[in-house]
Point group: C2
Chain length 182, copies 2
């Protein structure tokens, strides 16, 4: 059985927009038949990269997260841009911009989504291998540090709270579990 | 070394608000010294619950996710409410509302955060045991189905894409990895 959409959208209007986010307010009929408003924060599809060097270390990037008010270590991540041909291109760009590295081999680990009922962010997780340094090219508004850590240590960080960013935790543990043959 | 906040907030104004979401626009000085605007989508702290019955099965809840336009199986999750005394209370309420179950034993598995640079959602993951059925009491606007699945099957679902909701993937794999003694 394929579940059917129990919602009906009667009308939709944009109530706020900037280059990264659009907030939409829909007039809906809810599954229980009641009329209501549903606000959706539209975010472009994003990418996450588990980049490994020849020593089996993974690239972690650190930055101050303005929205959280603290520093955060994460896998390489970012949003796709308008007109970007595909999500591997977005992943290549983010890896290069955040670490200065390019990678020869790319594979898709799967997608995860941030569906808290408000945003529609879908993050595509990639595994990148065969990295080579091409010179740092950071995004102008960001200060991003890079560390290469043994993958087993990244797994420990995802378990003990040193990594809390949820796409990084999901990506690292998904890869670790698949690699471990569960 | 404790990293210092490299951003300066000059002013802050609310540009959109409803009972669940507030969108804030801050005038900032970026780490590189440039003036700019930073939009923050403020979401209240949320909870996720890995609820186990005496057979070692975990409660998964299914619902149509309006923002994604598809059905999604997830752990029990939800936002905390204004005036809710603590996050365990929020977790108890969500478990009861979404599944009709209450649980005797609660422990914190840790937190994960959705820090995509836009929202400030922090999700507290709990493990609940000693469940007993008290009668379904669903939230009015939601149609939520409950399934109890063997935990090993939930792990497979988090790996093969049947579960993609990122807090569920992170919570299930974090618990599985810790329980597996990695």
């Amino acid at each position: 059985m394929i579940p059917q959409n129990p919602w009906t959208t009667l009308a939709s209007k944009t109530v706020y927009t900037n280059p990264w986010v659009k907030v939409r307010e829909d007039d809906v009929v809810r599954p229980d038949g009641q009329r209501g408003i549903y606000s959706v924060v539209e975010i472009r599809p994003s990418v996450g990269v588990l980049a490994f060097n020849e020593k089996g270390e993974i690239a972690l990037v650190g930055q101050w997260r303005y929205t959280l008010g603290r520093y955060s270590w994460e896998i390489v991540r970012g949003g796709s841009m308008e007109g970007e041909s595909d999500l591997v291109s977005a992943a290549r760009r983010e890896l290069r911009e955040e670490t200065g590295y390019e990678a020869a081999d790319w594979s898709l680990l799967g997608t995860v989504d941030v569906n808290n009922g408000i945003t529609n962010d879908v993050q595509n997780l990639f595994v990148a291998r065969g990295v080579a340094f091409h010179g740092a090219r950071q995004e102008a508004e960001e200060e991003i540090a890079t560390r290469w850590v043994p993958f087993a240590e990244a797994v420990r960080m995802a378990l003990d709270g040193r990594i809390t960013e949820v796409c990084s935790v999901a990506g690292i543990l998904r890869y670790a579990t698949l690699a471990g043959g569960h």
